[in-house]
Symmetry: C2
Subunit: 237 residues, 2 copies
């Protein structure tokens, strides 16, 4: 193969990798919007916005399938190795988590529809709103870490998630006391509990995204490690 031809192929390959990364970021952007809209619909009782989130889930699903196909094509035709292969496998996993974040946004939107027509005592929503904002922030930061291949950012988001777990447990306990105080509210409070659960899972998925960024950049699989162990393995902290 002449130098020009192989240079040409390598440039084309670079362009393909660039393209697939942009698509992942576009999918991430849409999922972020879905989460933001679902949380807004929940907090304000906006049924129309909730319905929009539910309908748009199809778009997220389609993006997953298309990017997935592109990954398989790249492996089959370009036979990537080392860092390029890690990028493709990290994307495989990233889009699965993004799609599931989309599912959680859809669940929240479903709960928002139920709650839109119910009594909306302010105290029930306040802490949920904080939890939701934290999860949104984690997702945004995780996508930024992916865009910039920023391992330090990824690590600090993973740290953040442990703090959120305690916050979540506290909110669930709080909501359970509301049910005990007023059993007639059980059905509505359950919708809030399911929403809290979905928000917590969005944080879990954002944590996974960070692990893929670390794998992609460092070549180290840090899944299932404690934060301390992660820092040790990555020689940080």
């Amino acid at each position: 193969m002449g130098t020009n031809t192989s240079q040409h192929i390598s440039q084309q390959f670079e362009a393909e990798l660039q393209d697939i990364r942009s698509r992942v970021l576009a999918m991430g952007g849409l999922v972020e919007q879905q989460v933001a809209d679902a949380l807004n619909a929940l907090m304000t009782g906006d049924s129309e916005l909730a319905r929009k989130v539910i309908i748009q889930d199809t778009q997220v699903n389609n993006m997953e399938i298309l990017i997935d196909e592109e990954c398989v094509q790249i492996i089959a035709l370009r036979q990537p190795t080392a860092g390029d292969l890690r990028l493709v496998t990290a994307i495989f996993k990233t889009i699965t988590d993004l799609e599931r974040i989309g599912d959680e946004a859809q669940s929240i939107a479903q709960r928002a529809l139920n709650l839109a027509v119910a009594d909306r005592p302010k105290k029930n929503y306040r802490e949920l709103s904080t939890l939701g904002n934290h999860a949104r922030g984690m997702l945004r930061d995780a996508l930024n870490a992916f865009a910039r291949l920023d391992v330090d950012a990824a690590l600090s988001i993973a740290k953040e998630e442990s703090a959120r777990d305690d916050e979540y447990e506290g909110i669930i306990r709080q909501l359970m006391t509301y049910m005990m105080e007023d059993p007639r509210s059980i059905s509505n409070v359950m919708d809030l509990i399911w929403s809290a659960r979905s928000i917590e899972r969005i944080g879990d998925h954002a944590h996974n995204l960070c692990e893929y960024v670390i794998y992609l950049v460092e070549g180290t699989d840090v899944r299932h490690l404690s934060i301390e162990k992660m820092e040790e393995v990555l020689d940080r902290g």
Copy 2:
């Protein structure tokens, strides 16, 4: 390359693919056992069994990481195409779902620990037990479909799951009425609700496994399709 050498390489590659499939089935077997033990612990209040499930989750996590590495190695060294590549990418996704089933088993075991020391009214457990057996059955059948590359079996398990969704909704409604009738039971009943949720998710993951079997054998991505659409695409039904 001489015919003997290339034959040798191809035999070795075959053996590697065989090996990785066996590992996935071994991981599946362990996860099945985890689910069975977690459900038994929940139904009988066996704290020791519950603790065993929680401890063994590490083993499931390690298996995921090892198989994942093997998949990346195969792609890098063997540059598989067509059916072989589909096998590897399907395995990538399969082990992610298996690992998450393991997480759900661990969650159920945690709830079982809470409930072991509580009042255990029989009526609260009866329907949960049925739901649990169905989810176990779906997981077992999905793993068999993977072992035999059986698309028809995979399709009928996917069908089965839709029926389970209604069963799950019914149980959640039932458990909510128990909370309303006896608000002092809320904390215990919540543990049952979370368990039901975990069982339902195990069914969801088993459904995903079936979709990967179909993709692997037929080369068709059927995710996010309705059962009717799936049958149409696969020219069945």
